[in-house]
């Protein structure tokens, strides 16, 4: 039975148990003639939980873990058949067996080993599925029976159900922690393996990045050089250009909207700017690569500048556009949070409105604005699609925004897209870059939080 069918079976069993439990407790109460502790609904829910919860967990765990076990057993089987395969060849063989199993490998490519492996694999998959159905359904029925037996008018069904509900909630909120742990562990684990082949210092401070095929056999890492400085420099440059666009426009529009604009203009302009935030990044990427970049290149040629068609300028400008709404809406919030009394005080001293804003409101809102800019920077550094589509792939170490540069995120995508063997330094390098990215953005976020907490002044 397939997992979705089993899942539906369990849901059905749960619903049935609920109805049956609710009916049974009514009968029991009527017979005993005592006052019920919990309402019918809780007795029904109790039986449903008994019937469905444990099998559901087992179903999920089984479906998650059995492919691992089956793959390990298949590898073991194939290893016994032909002991002298390398790890890479074994991977290819396993992939072929699976392809043959689903029928996507043509008969002509199959040999006896693949056929034997497929038979073995098919038997394993089949047995696992049968055993899974059996265990899950048996446990479900046993659970339902046990739940029904426990029902009694004085049985405290409500606290029991509520306790289960609370545990489920705790597990749900722990997923957030698990995700963080998962991110950190998977990145660190792969990064450490990367540092087995490429020294940390070379990665962090090397000036040349070309992760292609090795030119010489004895080359470090066996596949090109992994000095990430050009990527960091490229990321910094594009982020810097983006901030040059986004900070003035975002900040000034926030100031104007919160201090000068009448409600009508505000009602139009604020959602208008927020539309920019809702546009998917792939759209900005397309816009940068097919509209802005050619336009910049042509107008550059008019005035005698040579722009690369993948210039840092185009990617940075469009990324700046994407960042505008972040800066403007976050700044808008902090400017609105400055108490009116400060403005009134400045006006009473004879300051014009712009003097009030520049000398009173903005300084008071500064921690919030700085934190908004830091958050926007973290967003720009982690942004992927715009740079993948509009920035270059070659790692140039340059300070000229008209040339093409590459970024950390572009390289992660380039290293991981397409066919890949999982253990090569190339693939692992992507995880090392990911770890750097994760820590830099984390640092910026924490810094943004710190700035607000440390420098915010309580006015009221």
């Amino acid at each position: 039975m397939s997992i979705s069918f089993l899942f539906l079976c369990l849901l059905g069993l749960g619903a049935f148990s609920f109805l049956f439990g609710r009916r049974r407790i009514r009968g029991l109460t009527a017979m005993a003639g005592v006052k019920q502790h919990s309402r019918d609904v809780y007795h029904g829910s109790f039986v449903a939980v008994c019937a469905a919860l444990v099998p559901l967990i087992i179903l999920l765990a089984w479906s998650g873990l059995s492919p691992l076990l089956i793959d390990a057993m298949l590898e073991d089987f194939l290893r016994r058949q032909s002991p002298d395969l390398s790890i890479g060849e074994m991977g290819v063989l396993i992939a072929k067996v699976k392809a043959y199993f689903v029928g996507s490998l043509p008969e002509a490519f199959a040999n006896d080993l693949i056929r034997d492996g497929t038979d073995y694999f098919a038997a394993l998959v089949d047995n696992s599925a049968t055993a899974r159905s059996f265990v899950v359904l048996l446990l479900g029925l046993c659970g339902a029976a046990l739940g029904l037996r426990l029902l009694a008018p004085r049985f405290t069904a409500r606290p029991a159900v509520e306790r289960v509900f609370e545990i489920v909630m705790i597990v749900a909120s722990a997923i957030a922690i698990l995700t963080t742990i998962g991110i950190v562990l998977s990145l660190i684990f792969e990064t450490l393996r990367f540092f087995d082949t490429v020294p940390v210092m070379e990665f962090l401070f090397g000036l040349s990045w070309s992760p292609q095929i090795a030119i010489r056999e004895d080359q470090v890492g066996g596949s090109g050089s992994f000095g990430a400085i050009p990527l960091f420099a490229g990321t910094m440059m594009i982020t810097f250009i983006a901030m040059l666009v986004a900070v003035p426009i975002g900040l000034m529009s926030a100031v104007y909207l919160s201090e000068y604009a009448n409600p009508k203009l505000r009602g139009i302009a604020k959602p208008g700017i927020e539309i920019l935030a809702g546009i998917p990044t792939v759209v900005y990427g397309f816009f940068a690569a097919l509209m802005v970049a050619p336009f910049l290149r042509d107008s550059g040629a008019e005035i005698g500048l040579t722009l690369s068609s993948e210039s840092a300028l185009a990617a940075g400008l469009v990324m700046g556009i994407m960042i505008i709404p972040f800066i403007s809406s976050l700044s808008d919030d902090v400017i609105n949070a400055v108490p009116q009394t400060l403005r009134d005080g400045a006006a009473a001293l004879g300051a014009t409105q712009s003097e009030t804003i520049r000398q009173v409101v903005l300084p008071a809102a500064l921690p919030g604005i700085v934190s908004a800019i830091l958050l926007a920077m973290s967003r720009a550094i982690g942004e992927t699609m715009i740079v993948v589509m509009a920035a270059g792939v070659a790692a140039n170490l340059t300070a000229n925004p008209f040339e093409s540069v590459t970024t950390v995120t572009v390289q992660i995508v380039m290293l991981l897209v397409g066919d890949q063997e999982f253990d090569s330094a190339k693939t692992l390098a992507a995880f090392a870059l990911g770890l750097v990215l994760f820590f830099i953005t984390l640092l910026l976020n924490v810094l943004a939080l710190y700035v607000v907490n440390r420098f915010k002044e309580q006015y009221d």
């Binding site: 909120s173 997923i175 998977s186 998917p280 397309f286 097919l290 409105q353 994760f438």
Partner: protein, 421 residues
Amino acid sequence: MTDYSDPDFRAARLKKRYQAEKRFRAYGMAAIITAGLILVFLLSSIIYSSLPAFSHHHVRLDINISEDYVATDTPEEGNYLGLVRAALRDHFPQVTGRRDKRALYKILSIGASDAVEARVKNDPRLIGTQISLYVPLSDDIDLMLKGLIDRNLPESDRIVSDRDLAFVDKLAEENRIERKFAFALFTNGDSREPEMAGINGALAGSLWTLLVTLIVSFPLGVLAAIYLEEVAPKNRYTALIEVNINNLAAVPSIVYGLLGLAVFINFFHLPRSAPLVGGLVLALMTLPRIIIPTRAAFAAIPPSIREAALGVGASRTQVIMHHVLPLAMPGILTGTIIGLAQAAGETAPLLMIGMMAFIVDVPTEVTAKATVLPAQIYMWANNPERAFVARTSAGIVVLLTLLLVVNAAAIYFRRRFEKRW
């Protein structure tokens, strides 16, 4: 030493200050106008460049469905392309050489035979008769007829040769060429040929992926939010979870892609390119974006409601399930819809787990190979063929329209059910 009692000085200074005021206002106005112009320019340029993709030039051919090409008893195995080509050849009896014939065939789309095939399979009695049918022209001819390739350029500078031009002009003289709505854009899966490429497969992939995302992230997000906002004691453990969730919301999406690759694909051996894995990755990414607005929705419900329920003897869980949750539902749904809309536009993490494969078939389950609409846009944008520019823009227009509808629904929900306490 400035003399503030000098009236001229005071007037001059005041003038300067007022000018500074005006300038400052102008800067603000300029910033807003710039942002607005950028938005208008971005949207209008994409819509403008998408327009050619919504129509395509077709040619009307009188097709003899002869038994030489399609056998009566096995219409599935018929040579429909040969059929269409024969019909085209009949219009140009003067074309005899093999190379000329091949050039002639090239003005038709590779998919020209699809319509005939569908007609004949639907009604096998047509075999042996003649039907008149519109079939699509190739993308280059189509671009030229739309005026996107200048036919006045010297022959060496354009894709369409003089010979092709003569063929097309003759068909046009006979009034056989017509511009029709490009249904293929919405009904087909991906294709190497621009005129046959459609977004149907990517849309289905997006739907499956978002379905997984919704099923996983909505219950988990709401349960976690209930726990953190309503149940949990305020201790170090819950403070840790809170900081965590806020940080997760700011982690770059590509990092989630790396997580998905390392955990779901390399550790759990789930299939690559599958909506199941894509949905799980997006679910992890969307989770904090559901938890944060859901908590805000809970926090906005006045404590008096909880106290009243507790006062008449409800348990804590009953307070939540019977009162707080139903009242917070509009806010929760709005947050969920906005979170899903963001997930629907996400590309980078899905590239990591291979959801940008070239897939012609429409996926029908969560473990089938699939792509999503933004990834399809990315792939088309990378395609050097000219006609794909319009296809890409058309894909973007569809994506933006969907997101607009979804976000409008969220705003409607908020307006319709919002309560002020």
